[in-house]
């Protein structure tokens, strides 16, 4: 408390008369020294108030800062000297605050971040940069860079601080300069590490840049921190410039090798919050092609971005369907991104110009894999297959082959074949779905039985089924009102008492 009172007195004194200016050092000392958390917080607050007031009074030197010794020694007015000196103290303060952003205590970090951002705001209003020519930008870019550097530590997770920072990203100009600063930071950091992955750093960058909300139209950009006369002529006001910066940032981020988890996260948001805001989405082709080639879940996720490129930007992808075909493995029914994947597969296979052998191979493979699928996936995939049959009537031989050879000893379909055209799917039949007609879940069995009949003309809507979860199924089943309750009819004799009980064979009650 005593410290607080002392600091308050200092503040009073410094603001009161220029004669007491030297007491600033008392404050800065506390800020720089390894003090108690409370003291540091107090000092930070005092600094914030002090320099805030000074900025507002315009008592800080404006323009490129001369060296301290030289300017003080030079023949200038006392006023000038004071301003330069004070500006140097301000600079010291900023340095201290930037250091404090790496402090252990979150409160300190948060407060220093907020203080810095307050200074950014004030500097935007009362610029410390002299307008020398028409295009001069008065925004405190260096300060933003300092903040961004503080937000992206190399070896710790700063997601909490970053989420605190998100509110400032609402400002269009702040966002613009943060994007630029991040690009710069990535360039510097990754250059140094020489392609060695930095999981924390990359994670931090991702958590900083992934929530960025880019404006859709130029007219949406109205919230600016900076007020300048020649506003219209500046780059900051142009959406095009924003997009360019955004694109550059992402490209520089994705240029480097990413950890798998991050890879997936990027791919998940790629189609939605990155591609639409790029000037040249085709620049992502390389990245997506590589991702698509990796295989597994990453390929599944890359599909979405690829689709946008193919669909909207005329990307020609050789052997796309073959690749898609090879993506189908037992895990597709189990992965988290099942809904998204099947949504895309549905899109890709919706063209009626696809050759029958290709569609048949897909059908056969999907149904073969369905033998290991959970019921919620089965409930989705069976209508999906039905839709394929509707779109491609040539494939109906898979379920209806009246004059086929009797008593085959093998399924003609070759599961291991990677080339759909050679898989002999058209010679096969969907015995898998027939097996699923005996599935334990009644709805699945019912859905599978549909293939026995000739299909109706209208396609099923599977969009509602894509997101089906096991819990939903369970809930539905539990809520069903049973007309008559099925009961065990054999008289029991305890837990394992029945005849031919499997449990009694292998377990004991101990």
């Amino acid at each position: 408390m005593a410290r607080a009172a002392e600091l308050a007195a200092c503040l009073e004194a410094v603001l009161g008369s220029r004669g007491n200016a030297n007491r600033v050092f008392q404050i800065l000392e506390l800020l720089a020294g390894q003090e108690e958390e409370e003291d540091v917080l107090c000092a930070t607050r005092t600094c914030s108030r002090l320099f805030g007031a000074l900025l507002e009074r315009r008592e800080l030197f404006v323009g490129p800062l001369p060296a301290e010794e030289a300017s003080l020694a030079g023949p200038c007015s006392a006023e000038h000297k004071y301003k330069v000196w004070m500006r140097h103290r301000y600079k010291d303060c900023l340095g201290c605050l930037a250091e404090l952003m790496g402090h252990d205590a979150f409160r300190v970090k948060e407060l220093s971040l907020c203080t810095l951002m307050k200074f950014v705001e004030l500097e935007a209003q009362y610029p410390l940069i002299k307008i020398e020519w028409k295009g001069t930008l008065t925004f405190p870019r260096e300060l933003v860079k300092v903040v961004v550097d503080g937000l992206l530590p190399l070896h710790e997770d700063a997601s909490l601080l970053i989420s605190r920072f998100q509110e400032y990203m609402e400002y269009d100009d702040v966002r613009y300069f943060v994007i630029k600063a991040v690009t710069e930071s990535i360039g510097q950091v990754m250059q140094k590490t020489k392609e060695r992955p930095l999981p924390f750093y990359q994670q931090n960058v991702f958590s900083l840049i992934s929530p960025i909300n880019m404006p859709n139209k130029e007219s949406d950009m109205v919230k600016f921190m900076m007020k300048q006369d020649n506003w219209e002529e500046l780059k900051v006001s142009k959406l095009q410039a924003h997009k360019q910066a955004f694109e550059k940032m992402w490209l520089s981020f994705l240029k480097h090798k990413l950890p798998t988890a991050l890879y997936k996260k990027v791919l998940v948001i790629l189609h939605d919050s990155i591609l639409p805001y790029m000037n040249e989405p085709t620049l992502m082709i390389d990245f997506l092609t590589v991702a698509y080639g990796i295989g597994g879940a990453i390929s599944l996720l890359a599909l979405n971005g690829l689709f946008i490129l193919i669909h909207q930007h005329n990307l020609e992808y050789p052997d796309f369907y073959k690749k898609l075909y090879s993506l189908l493995d037992p895990s597709v029914y189990h992965v988290k991104y099942r809904a998204r994947f099947f949504h895309l597969v549905d899109l890709f296979l919706s063209s009626s110009h696809l050759p029958a052998y290709l569609v048949a191979a897909f059908i056969k493979r999907l149904s073969r894999l369905a033998l290991t699928a959970p019921p919620e996936a089965l409930l989705m995939v069976i209508p999906f297959l039905c839709n394929l049959f509707r779109r491609h009537p040539a494939c109906r031989v898979l379920v209806h082959r009246p004059d086929g050879p009797e008593g085959m000893s093998e399924d003609p379909y070759i599961m291991e074949e990677e080339e759909p055209s050679k898989s002999r799917a058209l010679e096969s039949s969907l015995w898998e779905i027939q097996s699923l007609q005996n599935h334990y879940h009644p709805d699945v069995a019912k859905a599978a039985a549909v293939l026995n009949q000739s299909l109706s003309e209208i396609e099923d809507d599977i969009s509602g089924l894509l997101e089906l979860s096991a819990y939903e199924l369970f809930d539905k089943e539990v809520k069903k009102k049973a007309a008559d309750v099925p009961l065990e009819f054999e008289q029991i004799r305890g837990l394992f008492g029945k005849k031919n009980d499997i449990f009694a064979e292998h377990f004991t009650l101990d």
């Binding site: 082959r401 009246p402 399924d411 039949s429 027939q434 005996n438 065990e488 394992f496 064979e505 292998h506």
Partner: protein
């Protein structure tokens, strides 16, 4: 046909209507070519039926006029008349009733009307009987008169008088009697009316008495016969019936053969109705009453009142023990008797009669329990049991009785030993009564009370408590009991759940507790399913939350959770067993089962790249939890013996030594092989059986290190592999179910039923019907309008004719008057002329 024709018709028809029989007139008309109007057709259409090609306009017109005169005209004429003539004769206009019936009904009606008007003092009054409308009494009177002519006038007259006075001209019987019996006296002196009546009263009284005595004696005789029969009945049953018959023959002088047979049949032992099966309700009531009585007994004992007062009961005869001659050669059962407040015989638990299957187990346990328990408790147990048995005897069938008897024999020796020691002090018994279970229980209202009820009891006692709760609160006993017992199910389920989640699960207790659970479940399926659903939903909800929070769940479902420990594997295998059990009858396909077994096999292999198969979700092809089931230790492999996995391992892995762990792993593997075999047998009928089992087969055939396994394991392995491989591969192409073929368009003419010509045929039958109805309605409407118009014309004609008639009458009258006046005038003038002349 012109106007002339019409006129002619009117002239012709009017007299014919007056004459009466129309038909002849019509026939006459029809033969007259002038009367017939032929509707000429322009075109002849084949198949068209023409109804109206020939008409008789005159006939039909006259018919219409006649009808109008009969109805409309009448109405018109009576339009201002209020009085109506009503014919109230029964059924006069009802043509459906035949005349005879009509008469009968009328007669009945008449009787009914006169029924209420009877003279209440005239008791014997009968309605007058008639024959052909003449009073029978009258006829008899006449007869009597005739009779009296031959016999004696006086008597006949008197007798007639008597009958008329007292019996309303009653039957001839009485009269004859009177004539025979009283003849002399009557001749001596004619009795007064009063005397006569008295005499008759006396006579009737005497007669009544006689009748009564006769009936009594008959009753006595039959009773005696019954008794005699009962005495000899047993003899009949035991001895051959023939000999008995011989005895009878000897007794009776000359029995007719027919009589013999009749009697034989009559006396033959009939199938007597056995004790009727008691309904569930009654059983429940009895059981409750019994338990209440026992509870009262216990309380009394607790208070120290001795049952010395209980009388020694006479030999007990079971209700089933019909006097049917069936006697056990030697009844070695002890009969129920109290001795010093104890009971001599020992019986088993009362559960036995309810659950036969359970009998053995419980019985055995009871034995054990009895041995363990202190002497006095045994005694009390015995007592209660025996009391139970007396009733159970009543209810149980013969078989179980015999079985029980067998049990009892075994136990008897033991009791005899007990008995000597059982001579106990009263206070000790009181103690025992206190420690003994109460007999009646209310259904606990909350789970806490339920728990406290069961707390500290042995398993058997818990079972007894549960059973008594059920019996005291059987749903048929009171209205609210059903809801209470339904709640009990929930409590029991919760209790079992609690037991199961203990650190050391009391599986033995649970094993026993599932029996009452099962019974309750059978009683209230809906409530049971609701509470089970509730628990399942709760569990699922919890799991969902856990998954959301942690991204994975601790409980390894077959699908959702990662397998990280050996316990997880065991749990999973347990669930696999459960699945197999459930689908063992329906043969439903459970993909998760196969996936899990594949995964289990996979983790039993040394780490290497999986070839030719892919493990799915709960397992990962690569990762840190591989080799969970891998056993490398040669010694452990050698020393392994297949043994059942204890369930407690799931919650707590107590084997710490490596060897035991390895043995558990091998047991899991063996279980896995067995499950593979079982599921292969289950699913062999599926069309894609080979595809389903393909990964497992590859794994078994190519990757599993069989040679390292011990002999026993090899057996498991080979049986599983054999089950997989000896299935025939057989694929038949799929064929859709035939859909109803759409008929081709044909060129043969479509034949449609023509209902009406000149109308467009509607397509559907319904539409056709509708159109037809509309058409008919239109036609009817037209007809009605025409009729009304004709009616009006008719009326107008009638009115005109009336007016004309009236006018002409007036004219006539005026003419008459004028004429009379003229004659008067003429006369007067003539007179005047005469006078003038004169």
């Amino acid at each position: 046909m012109g106007k002339a024709g019409k006129r002619k018709v009117r002239q012709a028809s009017a007299p014919s209507a007056a004459r009466g029989p129309v038909k002849s007139a019509v026939a006459a008309v029809r033969s007259n070519p002038f009367e017939v109007k032929v509707n000429r057709q322009k075109f002849n259409i084949l198949g068209r039926k023409t109804k109206n090609d020939v008409g008789l306009p005159g006939v039909s017109r006259s018919k219409a006029i006649r009808k109008r005169t009969q109805t409309l005209l009448k109405e018109y004429k009576e339009r201002e008349k209020a009085n109506v003539f009503k014919d109230k004769r029964f059924g006069e206009y009802n043509t459906k009733i035949s005349p005879e019936e009509k008469m009968i009904r009328r007669f009945a009606l008449e009787r009914q009307q006169s029924y209420g008007k009877k003279n209440i003092y005239n008791l014997n009054e009968d309605e007058e009987l008639t024959h052909y409308g003449q009073s029978l009494a009258e006829i008899e009177k006449l007869n009597d008169i005739v009779d009296s002519d031959s016999d004696s006038e006086e008597r006949g007259a008197l007798s007639a008088e008597l009958t008329a006075a007292h019996f309303g001209g009653g039957g001839g019987l009485l009269r004859k009697k009177a004539s025979s019996g009283q003849q002399d006296e009557e001749e001596e002196k004619p009795k007064s009316r009063k005397e006569l009546i008295e005499e008759m009263i006396a006579k009737s009284k005497q007669e009544k008495q006689e009748r009564q005595t006769r009936r009594e004696s008959a009753l006595e005789l039959t009773e005696k016969l019954d008794n005699d029969w009962k005495e000899i009945q047993t003899l009949i049953a035991r001895k051959a019936p023939k000999s008995e018959r011989k005895d009878k023959e000897a007794e009776k002088p000359k029995p007719d053969e027919y009589d013999m047979i009749v009697r034989e049949l009559g006396f033959e032992m009939k199938a007597k109705p056995s004790e009727r099966m008691k309904t569930e309700e009654e059983l429940a009531k009895e059981e409750q009453a019994r338990l209440q009585k026992l509870e009262a007994d216990r309380l009394r004992r607790m208070r120290g009142i001795d049952e010395e007062t209980n009388k020694k009961k006479p030999s007990h005869v079971s209700a089933d023990d019909l006097a049917d001659g069936f006697i056990l050669d030697k009844d070695d059962r002890r009969l129920l008797s109290y001795k010093d407040g104890k009971i001599d015989i020992e019986n088993e638990e009362e559960e036995e009669k309810d659950k036969e299957e359970e009998e053995e187990e419980v019985g055995e346990e009871e034995d054990n329990e009895n041995e363990e328990e202190s002497e006095e408790e045994t005694a009390n147990e015995d007592e209660e049991d025996s009391a139970a048995d007396t009733h159970s005897d009543l209810e149980s069938d013969l078989e179980s009785e015999e079985e029980a008897a067998g049990n009892k024999e075994q136990k008897k020796e033991k009791t005899n030993e007990n008995e000597s020691q059982n001579v106990e002090k009263l206070d000790q018994k009181m103690e025992a009564a206190k420690s003994e279970l109460p007999y009646t229980f209310a259904v606990p209202e909350s789970y806490e009370t339920f728990k406290s009820l069961l707390a500290g009891r042995t398993i058997e006692q818990q079972l007894i408590i549960l059973e008594r709760i059920q019996k005291c609160n059987h749903p048929s006993l009171a209205v609210g009991n059903k809801a209470k017992l339904e709640k009990l199910f929930g409590f029991l389920l919760e209790y079992i759940g609690e037991l199961a989640t203990l650190d050391l699960p009391e599986l033995r207790t649970i094993d026993k507790l599932v029996l009452p659970l099962y019974n309750l479940c059978q009683m209230f399926p809906e409530a049971a399913s609701d509470s089970i659903k509730f628990i399942l939903r709760d569990a699922a909800h919890d799991m969902e939350e856990v998954i959301e929070v942690k991204g994975r769940a601790t409980f390894p479902g077959l699908d959702t959770c990662r397998i990280t420990t050996l316990q997880d594997v065991i749990k999973g295998l347990f669930i696999c067993c459960l699945f197999l059990e459930y689908v063992s009858l329906s043969r439903r396909f459970v993909p998760e089962l196969i996936n899990f077994l594949l995964g289990v096999l996979h983790i039993s292999l040394p780490k290497k790249q999986a070839q030719g198969y892919t493990v799915v979700h709960p397992f990962t092809p690569v990762g840190k939890n591989l080799e969970l089931l891998l056993v490398c230790d040669k010694e452990d492999l050698e020393s392994w013996q297949k043994k059942n996995l204890p369930l407690s391992i799931v919650t707590r892995l107590n084997e710490t030594s490596r060897t035991e762990m390895n043995h558990t792993r091998l047991s899991c593997l063996a279980l896995c092989f067995d499950l593979i075999k079982k599921s292969a047998a289950l699913y062999e009928s599926l069309p894609s059986f080979h595809e389903i089992m393909h990964p497992i087969r590859i794994l078994l055939a190519q990757h599993v290190p069989v040679n390292e396994y011990p002999e026993k394991m090899k057996e498991w392995y080979h049986s599983a592999l054999k089950e997989l491989e000896n299935k025939v591969k057989h694929y038949t192409p799929l064929i859709c179910e035939k859909k109803k073929p759409v008929p081709l368009k044909q060129y043969t003419p479509k034949i449609v039923k023509v209902l009406e010509f000149g109308r467009k045929q509607a397509s559907s039958k319904k539409e056709q019907e509708r159109k037809q109805l509309i058409q008919r309605h239109k036609r009817e409407l037209k007809g009605a309008i025409r009729e009304i118009r004709k009616d009006n014309q008719f009326l107008a004609r009638m009115q005109l004719s009336e007016i004309m008639e009236r006018d002409s009458a007036r004219k006539r009258k005026v003419k008459e008057l004028l004429g009379s006046l003229a004659t008067q005038e003429g006369e007067w003038k003539a007179l005047k002329r005469k006078k003038g002349k004169n």
